[in-house]
Every structure is written in structure tokens, then in C-alpha cells.
């Protein structure tokens, strides 16, 4: 169980990550805003509590592996990695620029600490499953995590991966779904309904947990519970607010794939700074 101080520390990291996301997106002039802001709390929890990792030694053999299937939200990963010490936070401003290690969609070979190359939706869970399968063959102790979007559950390949992991009882694999209900063309339940998502995963032999994706304590507890499930892989359906932290972006699917301009960024950053400490684990 996290102490109150540990929760507060993670929440403050999440706020720093949000501010960095806005700064890097406005510098880049293109990119995705809603998804990265919505996943800031989870990425803060991953990089500042959950993952076994060493920013000074990104290839450490025993590290936990984090696959990002929905590569378009990579600004949140870059920001979290920078704040965790993988590279200087200033480098975040090179996002999407020529010669940058921070490609528009993540490339494993360009930036140490990334586990794969991703962006085209639907194939990340299969990759993470293959990785987890190989690691289990050799009795490796590290865990494999895979973040997915809800929208990429439209893709057949995602369900091929779901079936494969369930069939093979990959208990060293934890999937984390950013259930923010939006995709490029609109609300997920209007574009191509996904519900009942829990029942679908259960039918494919997964252990399913649902959490408030902005409640750090709830998320960390779920990750801990997943480690205790022996017969199945676990999926954590994290209910998030797209754009969380910036009122104008929250719940608005039109912010899925565009960055703020300079004026907006100024306003959003001011808003985020007033939020320091207000997105909290409210159930305590």
C-alpha cells in the first residue's frame, strides 16, 4: 500500500509531466494532446513507482518491459522518461524535429529505454505477448506491461493478441487500456462500440480489473493484484478523462490529434499550474 506521501509525490510528478507535454507539443507544432494528458497519472505511477528500471542503465536485463501499443501518445512516455532521468527534460522540446531521438511515433533503435517501435495500431499487444512468451520460456522474473488505447480494439490484430495471451495464460503480462472513450472520428461507442469490454476480455480468459485512471493508489493496487494472478494475464481497464487537467480539452475528441497553439499553450500551462495537487486519489 502506498503511503500518503508516496501518492502525493507521484501526483506531483504527473503534474510536471502534463506541463512538459503541453510545452513539447507546442514546440513540435503537431501531435496528440488528449491521450497523453489523460495518461499522465498512470505514466507517473509506472515510472516513479511500478516499473523496475534504471534510467542510467536502460538495457538492464532484469528491468520490467513497458510496451506502448498506441504509439501516438508517446509524448507522455517521453515526458515521464525525461523526468525519471533517461535524458534531459530540455530534449523534450526536440519532439518531432529533424534529427531528434524523440520521433513522432516511438522508435526503439533511436532512443534507449523504448522497448519497441509502434504507432500503427493493433499490434502492440501481440508483440508484448511474444516477448512475455519468450521470457517465460527462460523463467525470467521481470514483468511485461503493455499500454493500449481503447480505439485500437477496433483492429482485428488486437483481438488476435488477446486470444493468444489468454490461451497461453501469460501471467507475466499486464495490459493497461486507456479507456478514454474517444478516437479520431468521435466517441468510441459511436464509431465502433467496444462495450462490454470487460466481458469480452473475460471471455478470452483474462483477469479484468477496472480502475479510475487518475487515482494513483487504485492503479498501483491493481498492478499489485495482477502480480498475484497465476492462471491468466491481467488487463487493467483504466477509465480516464481525455485531456485531463485542461478543461477545454477534457472529453473533447477533437483534441485527439492536434497540438495547442502558442496562445492556448500559455493558457493551458497557467491552468495546469493552478491544479498542482488537485488531481488526487480521492477515495482516501
Amino acid at each position: 500500500m502506498l503511503s500518503d506521501k508516496e501518492v502525493r509525490d507521484i501526483e506531483l510528478k504527473a503534474e510536471e509531466i502534463r506541463e512538459t507535454i503541453i510545452e513539447m507539443l507546442v514546440a513540435a507544432g503537431s501531435g496528440h494532446t488528449a491521450g497523453p494528458l489523460g495518461m499522465a497519472d498512470i505514466f507517473a505511477a509506472l515510472y516513479f513507482h511500478v516499473l523496475k528500471h534504471d534510467p542510467q542503465n536502460p538495457d538492464w536485463a532484469e528491468r520490467d518491459r513497458l510496451f506502448l501499443s498506441n504509439g501516438h501518445i508517446t509524448p507522455v512516455r517521453y515526458a515521464a522518461m525525461a523526468h525519471a532521468g533517461y535524458f534531459p527534460v530540455e530534449e523534450c522540446l526536440t519532439l518531432r524535429k529533424f534529427g531528434s531521438r524523440l520521433q513522432g511515433h516511438p522508435e526503439r533503435l533511436r532512443l534507449p529505454g523504448l522497448e519497441t517501435t509502434s504507432g500503427p495500431l493493433g499490434s502492440g499487444l501481440s508483440q508484448a505477448s511474444g516477448y512475455a512468451y519468450g521470457a517465460r520460456m527462460d523463467n525470467k522474473k521481470f514483468r511485461v506491461y503493455c499500454c493500449l488505447s481503447d480505439g485500437e480494439h477496433d483492429a482485428g490484430n488486437t483481438w488476435e493478441g488477446v486470444m493468444f495471451a489468454g490461451n497461453n495464460k501469460l501471467n507475466n503480462l499486464t495490459a493497461i487500456i486507456d479507456r478514454n472513450n474517444i478516437q479520431i472520428n468521435g466517441m468510441t461507442e459511436e464509431v465502433m462500440p467496444l462495450e462490454n469490454l470487460r466481458a469480452k476480455y473475460e471471455a478470452f480468459n483474462w483477469h479484468v480489473l477496472e480502475v479510475d485512471g487518475h487515482n494513483v493508489r487504485e492503479f498501483v493496487d491493481a498492478v499489485g493484484q495482477a502480480k498475484a494472478i497465476f492462471e491468466k494475464p491481467t488487463v487493467i481497464i483504466a477509465h480516464t478523462v481525455p485531456g485531463k487537467g485542461v478543461k477545454e480539452i477534457e472529453f473533447d475528441y477533437r483534441w485527439h490529434g492536434k497540438p495547442p497553439n502558442k496562445e492556448e499553450a500559455k493558457k493551458f500551462l497557467a491552468e495546469l499550474r493552478t491544479l498542482r495537487g488537485k488531481i488526487t486519489s480521492e477515495n482516501e
Binding site: 519497441t116 499490434s123 511474444g130 519468450g134
Partner: protein, 329 residues
């Protein structure tokens, strides 16, 4: 004459011994099971016809089934290779690299993980299954992906060697195999190295050089022999379509001054295109292309289809004469 250093079988033109190139793949996998514990096989519900069944039975703990799911086949293998295994993925070429092309592009080629893609049932010689199962564009699909090595073995023995070499290579590799039994031309002593073409038939002061790939190399040899008292022809087996052995190819084209390419594939995008791209820059000479000309296949016997689509010995002989007549006097 047969080039002595090629160490081909005796009585080459009797073609007594035949085997499918996919059988050479299966044989090599059993050898790899013994010698390389990192090798795993991933299959999409086609264990028998892709010839991975024997590996599955002997090494069940290293055999991974994904069902009829070729996108998963590629992406799961990407994860396995990323972890440190050497996965061979087996399906029909129309599905892999056909159906799963994007997964191969992003998660294998761009990601630079050493997955070995074995595409079976290449060419119209698949026969009765018809156009849906006859891959005629797989070389093109794989050749345009950076980091991907593309190999199209000429017979079962070369298929065995290519599979063993692919396991060692550390790169993504596409291996192309046929369904039908075809003549065995090479022996265990025939040299094989990825990226190195091999001269099989040496014409004295050749007027034409044939660059052939896959089992049709045999038809190319038959055509060269048929014309041996008429037109001197050399035959080079280009088993590695990428990276192309440009030095040897340019030298042979310069020497002969005319080229015929032979492949059981669309003439767009395959070996012929690769040769033309190379020679247009380095040594422009007349070229004739033997292959399928912008058509799909159909049901029939392999022999009927090879003839119908213009890839028989007589077609190659005709192309040799034609390209010879196009040479500048």
C-alpha cells in the same frame, strides 16, 4: 557447360531426384532444433503444409501456434525476437508477407528484429489451389522494406542451406519456398552464401547471361543447354534477391551484353526489376523478362501453368534469341 565449381548433381538433365523447396526448409529446421536452442517456430495453422510438423513433434516446447492469424504471427514473432529468440514464422506467402505486410514493416523491418519469414506456396506452380493461394508479389513486397534480406532458393538442398544461413544472420530475412516437387540441382558441396550469386552454367564467350531465381533456375539451365551449339549462354543463380550481388551481376552483364531474367513472380517488382534497376545505372544492356505479366494465376497442374504463363524452357529459349537480336551490332 556446367560450371565445375558449382558442384551440381551428376546427370543434371535427367532430373531424377525431385523435392519441394519447402522440404529443404523442414529438414533445416530439424537441424537447427538440434544445434541452436534459440530457434523457435511460430505457425499459423499450417504445420504440415509448411513442413514445420516434424519440428513441432520433436521440439514441442519450441513450437508456438497462433491459429489462423497472420498479423499476430508477425507481431508475436517480433516480440520473441526482440526478447532474444530466433523465430521462424511459417505460412503461405499470400498471407505472410501478404496479409501481414504492415506488421512486418513496423514491428520487424523498422524495428530491426531477426524474424525469419518463411513464405510457402510461391508462384503459379502451387497448382490446383488457384490464384488466391499463388503468391506472385511476395518478392516485391519484401524487397522494398529496408533491413530485410530476401532469399529465393532454387532447390530443396539450397533451401536447406538458406534456412541454416538465415538462422545465423542476425537480420530479418524473407525465405521464399514452393509447394511442388522440383529438380534437385545442387549438392551439399555447392557453395552458398547469402548475397553471393552463383554461376551454374558457363557459356564460352557468352552472348547472353540469364539471371534466374527459384526452381525455374532448372528451366534456365535446360534452355541454355538446348541452345549450346547455337548461342553461348551463361546461367547465374541469384538466390539472394536482396541484397543483390551487384558486382557479379554487372560484370556478367558487361561480359555478355544481353540479359534474360527468370522468376516465377510478377515481372513488376521482383528479380527482373531488381536487375533492371541495377543495370540501368551500371551497365545498360537489352533485357528480356521471364515471369508473370500483370495477371493472376488459376487452377491447373504446375506444368500446365508454367507453360501457360510463359515460363517454360521454350519461352526462355525464345527470350534468349530475342534479346540477342536486340544487341547493337
Amino acid at each position: 557447360m556446367i560450371y565445375p565449381n558449382a558442384k551440381l548433381v551428376e546427370n543434371l538433365f535427367d532430373a531424377k531426384e525431385q523435392a519441394a523447396t519447402r522440404d529443404g526448409f523442414g529438414t533445416a529446421l530439424l537441424e537447427l532444433g538440434e544445434t541452436n536452442k534459440d530457434v523457435v517456430v511460430v505457425c499459423a495453422d499450417l504445420a504440415e503444409s509448411t513442413r514445420v510438423l516434424a519440428f513441432k513433434e520433436k521440439y514441442p516446447e519450441r513450437y508456438i501456434e497462433v491459429g489462423v492469424a497472420e498479423q499476430n504471427l508477425a507481431a508475436v514473432a517480433s516480440g520473441l525476437a526482440n526478447y532474444g529468440k530466433i523465430p521462424f514464422i511459417a505460412s503461405y506467402a499470400t498471407f505472410s508477407p501478404g496479409r501481414n505486410n504492415e506488421q512486418i514493416r513496423t514491428t520487424i523491418s523498422l524495428n530491426q528484429v531477426p524474424v525469419k519469414i518463411a513464405g510457402m506456396h510461391a508462384g503459379v506452380s502451387v497448382g490446383p489451389d488457384g490464384a488466391t493461394h499463388q503468391a506472385l508479389e511476395d518478392l516485391a513486397l519484401m524487397r522494398v522494406q529496408p533491413n530485410m534480406v530476401v532469399i529465393s532458393p532454387c532447390d530443396a538442398e539450397e533451401a536447406r542451406k538458406a534456412t541454416l544461413a538465415a538462422a545465423q544472420s542476425g537480420t530479418p530475412v524473407y525465405l521464399r519456398f514452393g509447394r511442388e516437387k522440383t529438380p534437385i540441382m545442387t549438392t551439399a558441396e555447392t557453395p552458398f552464401a547469402i548475397g553471393k550469386s552463383s554461376l551454374l552454367w558457363l557459356g564460352e564467350h557468352p552472348q547472353v547471361v540469364i539471371f534466374a531465381t527459384g526452381p525455374l533456375v532448372y528451366n534456365a539451365l535446360c534452355a541454355a543447354k538446348e541452345l549450346e551449339n547455337d548461342i553461348a549462354v551463361s546461367v547465374i543463380n541469384v538466390h539472394t534477391v536482396k541484397p543483390l550481388d551487384t558486382k557479379a551481376i554487372v560484370a556478367a552483364a558487361e561480359d555478355a551484353g544481353a540479359v534474360v531474367t527468370v522468376e516465377e513472380h510478377q515481372i513488376a517488382g521482383g528479380l527482373g526489376s531488381a536487375i533492371a534497376e541495377c543495370l540501368a545505372q551500371e551497365c545498360p544492356v537489352p533485357i528480356e523478362f521471364i515471369g508473370v505479366h500483370d495477371q493472376f494465376g488459376q487452377s491447373g497442374t504446375p506444368a500446365e501453368l508454367i507453360e501457360h504463363y510463359g515460363m517454360g524452357v521454350s519461352h526462355i529459349a525464345l527470350a534468349i534469341k530475342k534479346v540477342c537480336s536486340r544487341k547493337k551490332k
